[in-house]
Symmetry: none
Subunit: 507 residues, 2 copies
């Protein structure tokens, strides 16, 4: 192909992906709006609009034009003619194209309809705490996903193909290894924590803290983190989230619980971590398919880094405790910094993943992972999930749900067909600890910086090593380049063990 | 064409227009978002997205598919086979098709992007009171519109073609006639008012009224008007507006000036009038091109009806004055209802259109009309607008702006490329007075209803006669059907003359 033809095709490809990203930005804003205050009576019509725009995205990603661009631009003899961004974007689009093309259109439609029904039924089933209502839908969804895995093909284990959707490059063997390590370390640690005679006092955590003051403090912390309010905004929702519409518009939402400020404070820091990632992706990637976080796991490494390694750190509160007190109603005036620190790090077995502390959180994920793996290797069946769930809860955490609502029905993910997603939460946590360890080589005075409220060098380090690359680097590439090693759970284990032996004064 | 073929074509046409209205809904939300709090740094990219989606609308409206549908469905022999909605929708789409086909696609896209950028620059230019910042954008926009008029063609006067976009059926001759009548009646009335010895006391209008209380009162009044908060929401913006995304999602914005509650109160009632129109369009029209107000003038007749004939009416305040007082800081406790009424109807020359009283308001419009007519007949140039503006203000109103912010930069319209729009405000005012006159035949106890706070019969009358029809009726058809006459400025002139002779005790 002559050089001018290449550039013409490159331009055509860029135009196609710009249209896709534009649709996605519009869809993103509509989703944000639906969750932050769209009028109820407009919701049905708005859903139609979102559906219409989503199907345009699907059409473009699988169009004849797209195929022509991809066929031309993936010609190996051209590689020296293409910019690194184009090369990577073509790879990304090709993977998407092939995934979408391999599923028969009617089956995909059927899947989308089932998914949407299942999400609705899930709400009802959870309200009634009745797994049997959801069971037939889950069975269908698992069936669909098994078919998809067959269409897509798999290596070694069918579940690997699903993992690859959320965390490319990670497989069952790797996860088995690190999750076993984690479980073996955390289960006895939880026992020690439960048995400790030094349980933190926590009563003052639950005293009234006005929502508007929580909002002020949330904004104060976001600013400290380097979140750019000229490229974002903070709103209130029932289920907090962060959404990147483009790097100049990355929004955070949080929830204010007047009888537990931790929901807002740690929720905001968590979502703020996601948002910093999206705000600091290189401008060069705007309008390409590479302008977002590279994987769910790396995204979660950013939110958990800020939430846990910064937000639950003693030094962070040395700097912020006084101003935090000034936002409150005075309930902390008599509480010493040490007692406050121990209280916000209270830990122990619990039933609900999203309310779990940072020590037991990985166990919640491991349970879900083992179940998903069991389903896709045909060693478990959907109908047995409540029983399996409850057994595993007892085995790993020593607690047992009273009903399905606080057990197997607690998360929406499976009703949305999202199998393979859960492991990212724990992988992200492992990555975060690895990043923290690597960061210490460049910023050995990390804790001192927290004490000074000087968080910008931390944000800048993350931008340089993670944020800016968007999808230009695969997850494991980022971790390798930064830490010089692969996935390694040791850093997280050491962090949890050191911290909780200290907080609970375990010998 | 066989009957089944007709129905197939009808379906295809419906599908096309549904896609167009979906895009328009997404664009509408993005516009609302840009004005209510989108982060500054995302604006440029958002403008690109709006541009892209608008160009999709443009493509669909001018597509081969659309042409085929329109050619088939406008066949006169089919008229008995089509529903009245389809017939009207085809007419509408055909007009749109012919307008759009005549503009080169790239030029239209460029126009949309310029427009979106100019609206943002306008805010800055106004804040800096610097017309020169906006001038190059305005010149481009006028250039675009002159080209468009050439593509479209015109009859008698180039400006007629622009008028037709906002108020179909009205032309320069008609407007010259009624605006002259208005000017000849109002200019001497203004003199009498200025010369009157009975000037209302107004000091208490400017005492501090907390924004949050103004918001509460605004919501109270919107509810009284029958505005449905399950199908809408109230937000704060610099330049208040109402926007209908679909009849289940019609949003109002207002502005809170703590030292002048009138901005919010009358602004909210005004925008609420627009919103009632959009909320009460028949559900049958959702997804068609007929699901919006029929013209800017009829739209403005609704907002001005509520703002002036209801909101500035003595009887309305007889019902609301006590509750209004309870929202305030107590500054009205010693003020008698009569004095309050005269104060909120204080009138006289002023600089800012949206703050102008209802008597001088038409003069502000007439100035803009004359400037637009001048620009499009090449008798004026953009660079001279500040000077021309100031001269006309002096001639008609006897006042002169200190700077561009309170002069030529005060309105957003021209930055949005909306030339031909301004006359609708005064036309709407004329229509509103005509509608009020007709309404009295059905609701002779209009004032009594206001005194009782029973505004729903008024809303229902307007829904029956105006709202529900959407674009099923042309503006002048509505006015004819309801009033039995054409455009007639006499009712407005009589209203203003009677009211201000009373308020100012002019013999």
């Amino acid at each position: 192909m002559a050089n001018t033809t290449v550039h013409k095709t490159e331009e055509k490809f860029r135009d196609l992906t710009q249209r896709i990203t534009s649709y996605n930005e519009a869809i993103g804003l509509m989703v944000w709006d639906l969750r932050t205050g769209a009028p109820k009576k407009g919701v049905e019509q708005r859903s139609e609009v979102i559906g219409m725009l989503s199907s345009e995205v699907f059409k473009l990603s699988t169009s004849k034009e797209m195929k022509e661009c991809l066929d031309s631009l993936s010609d190996p003899s051209l590689h020296s003619d293409l910019t690194p961004i184009t090369k990577k974007a073509v790879e990304e689009a090709k993977q998407e194209f092939e995934r979408n093309k391999k599923i028969p259109e009617d089956e995909y439609k059927e899947y989308i309809i089932t998914q949407s029904k299942a999400e609705n039924i899930w709400e009802e089933a959870k309200a009634n705490s009745d797994f049997s209502m959801l069971q037939p839908y889950l069975e269908k969804l698992v069936g669909f996903k098994k078919n998809f895995v067959n269409y897509w093909g798999y290596k070694d284990h069918p579940y690997n193909t699903l993992l690859d959707l959320y965390e490319p490059g990670v497989n069952v063997d790797t996860i088995d290894r690190v999750f076993n390590q984690l479980r073996e370390a955390i289960v006895p640690l939880v026992k020690d924590v439960v048995d400790s005679k030094h349980q933190p006092h926590t009563k003052f955590l639950f005293e009234s803290f006005p929502a508007s003051k929580q909002q002020d403090f949330s904004m104060h912390v976001l600013k400290q983190m380097g979140y750019d309010f000229k490229a974002g905004r903070l709103d209130e929702t029932n289920h907090p989230f962060a959404i990147g519409l483009n790097p100049g518009d990355v929004r955070v939402t949080t929830k204010y619980d007047e009888s537990d400020f931790r929901t807002a404070v740690f929720g905001t820091i968590h979502e703020g971590g996601h948002a910093l990632y999206e705000q600091n992706i290189s401008d060069e990637l705007i309008g390409t398919l590479l302008c977002s976080g590279t994987s769910m796991g790396i995204h979660e490494s950013q939110s958990l880094f800020w939430e846990n390694f910064v937000g639950r750190n003693y030094s962070f509160w040395e700097h912020n405790y006084d101003s935090f007190k000034s936002f409150s109603n005075g309930q902390f005036d008599q509480i010493k910094m040490d007692d406050f620190y121990r209280a916000i790090n209270v830990a122990g077995p619990s039933l609900i993943r999203i309310e779990a502390d940072e020590m037991t959180y990985p166990l919640h994920i491991i349970i879900r992972y083992e179940i998903e793996k069991g389903l896709f290797s045909n060693q478990m069946e959907v109908k047995d999930l409540p029983e399996i769930w409850n057994e595993k809860m007892k085995e790993y955490l020593g607690v047992q749900p009273k009903n399905d609502a606080e057990g197997v029905l607690q998360d929406i993910h499976w009703s949305g067909g999202d199998f393979g997603y859960f492991p990212s939460y724990a992988l992200g946590y492992i990555y975060a600890a690895q990043l923290k360890n690597a960061m210490l080589k460049d910023l050995p005075d990390f804790d001192q910086k927290l004490r000074e409220g000087n968080l910008l060098p931390i944000k800048e380090w993350l931008t340089k090593n993670v944020h800016q690359h968007g999808k230009m680097k695969k997850p494991i590439e980022i971790i390798n380049d930064v830490t010089g090693e692969g996935l390694n759970a040791e850093h997280l284990i050491k962090y949890l063990s050191d911290k909780y032996r200290d907080v609970y004064k375990i010998k």
